[in-house]
Symmetry: C2
Subunit: 274 residues, 2 copies
């Protein structure tokens, strides 16, 4: 039982995804440690909470150290199951709900009820509409309804446009189209014609040629398309074109999709739609 190993449990009455995401960024501050992470979702009654205890106890025995619990549990009775348990509990809700309630001068609802459900369903529909929009406007597939786009990404093939548009849709309900920049555009030395009237929606993505070469080689090994020489040429042409046309652009090479999306929103002043 190495001393630098700990088990971490994200215990939630919902999906636990928020707790897990925050938890992972907290734990990243302790790079010398090894964390075994387990998400325990949908713990919304006392029985389910009790069923968690043996699993957590077992991990604690294996580690020879107290486990860490990050909890988002609305119901007091459910949360009470973990009271007195030999662990360190970081309670995301209670820690912040109490000071918020004091500041606002209103008590918190215990039940996140019907109103929220209906609202979430509307959000879900809007996000799904944005996902469909991204899929229909992927890789220049359609010029229709481009006026509806919140943002239009341009860049060479496989520089990360598609995942970015899907993330913008899924996380924020933002409608994002994407257009490839291809050798014909470079020869003409101009943007694809259809994009001229949407200049204020354009954001460029670029990537380091070595990385692009690696990505394209997975798809089409030993092709001219994937060759480092061709990747260098395409990236240089694309960056030159975007620079000359005054299109703001960013390099996706060492960024997460969250970062790329947040930068794009910042550049174009777009905020979440949901």
């Amino acid at each position: 039982m190495p001393e630098n190993r700990r088990s971490v449990f994200f215990v939630s009455d919902g999906t636990g995804i928020t707790a897990e995401t925050l938890g992972m960024s907290l734990l990243a501050h302790f790079p010398g440690m090894t964390f075994r992470q387990t998400r325990m979702p949908f713990i919304d009654n006392v029985e389910k909470a009790r069923a968690c205890l043996p699993v957590i106890e077992q991990a604690a025995r294996e580690d020879g150290a107290r486990p860490i619990l990050l909890t988002t549990l609305v119901n007091d009775e459910v949360r009470a199951i973990f009271d007195g348990f030999p662990c360190i509990e970081l309670d995301l809700f209670k820690t912040f709900i109490v000071p918020l309630s004091q500041e606002l001068g209103v008590p918190p609802t215990r039940e996140v009820g019907q109103a929220r459900r209906v609202e979430e369903n509307a959000l879900y529909r809007q996000r799904m509409a944005a996902v469909n929009y991204a899929l229909e406007h992927d890789d220049g597939a359609s010029d229709r309804h481009l006026e509806e786009a919140d943002v239009i990404l341009i860049g060479v093939s496989r520089c990360g446009k598609t995942p970015t548009t899907l993330y913008l849709a899924m996380q924020f309900g933002i409608k994002a189209a994407n257009y490839p920049l291809i050798p014909e555009d470079f020869e003409r030395g101009r943007l694809p014609g259809v994009l001229e009237q949407y200049r204020d929606k354009l954001v460029g993505l670029t990537i380091r040629p070595e990385r692009l070469h690696a990505i394209r080689s997975e798809r089409r090994p030993n092709s001219r398309y994937a060759s480092l020489e061709n990747c260098r040429s395409e990236v240089l042409h694309a960056e030159t074109l975007m620079h000359r046309e005054g299109i703001p652009w960013l390099d996706s090479t060492s960024k997460s999709v969250e970062e790329i999306a947040a930068k794009i929103m910042q550049i174009r002043g777009v905020t979440r739609r949901t």
Copy 2:
């Protein structure tokens, strides 16, 4: 300046997306209030932090009440800019990093440095590979490499399979394929043949016929495909087939994509790949 209005700022040296997501679930506990929410990302130096202050002050004047700040700021100097500012600050990092550090007996790193960057880049690549997998295996488009799938979703057209597979890929790096259940399958009364050998990866999605009718009508209004009668028939046949074949399934109608994804992972015992 209505008393039940408050401005909320998510101030982060990163994207601020985690803070915003947690913040939104905290604020949902105060349904009587109206919150104006602003994300302030990439606040990673003292100058950028100072530039936030006038914006926050302005909002406070308009509200006639102290603003709420949710912060995730690693650097102490940057965070200190907000000290003494008339606001309620909920500091996600300090609040939890300090007790974590005490429990673990190690100091936290202040810089989330190179190691994390490289790791994030590897995570990004894995997630992008999963996104590509989902796109290539969308709607039964390919039977190749199905053995690589962590999970295979089945269900009638437009019941929510595609967004779910993309979310599983983007959030967890999980490879998910999806197959439509179509009238031919119902006539034969059997699963699509190619799926037989992957029974232990299958999860069904279903949806209320009224909702399916509304979704399909947006695409193909007044078609037989979108008619309520046909939607009722397809959903009934699909649920009957899944029941008879012993495929676990869930109803997507009133669930968020996070919930659907978390349930699927629970059903098939799949954990995050990244």
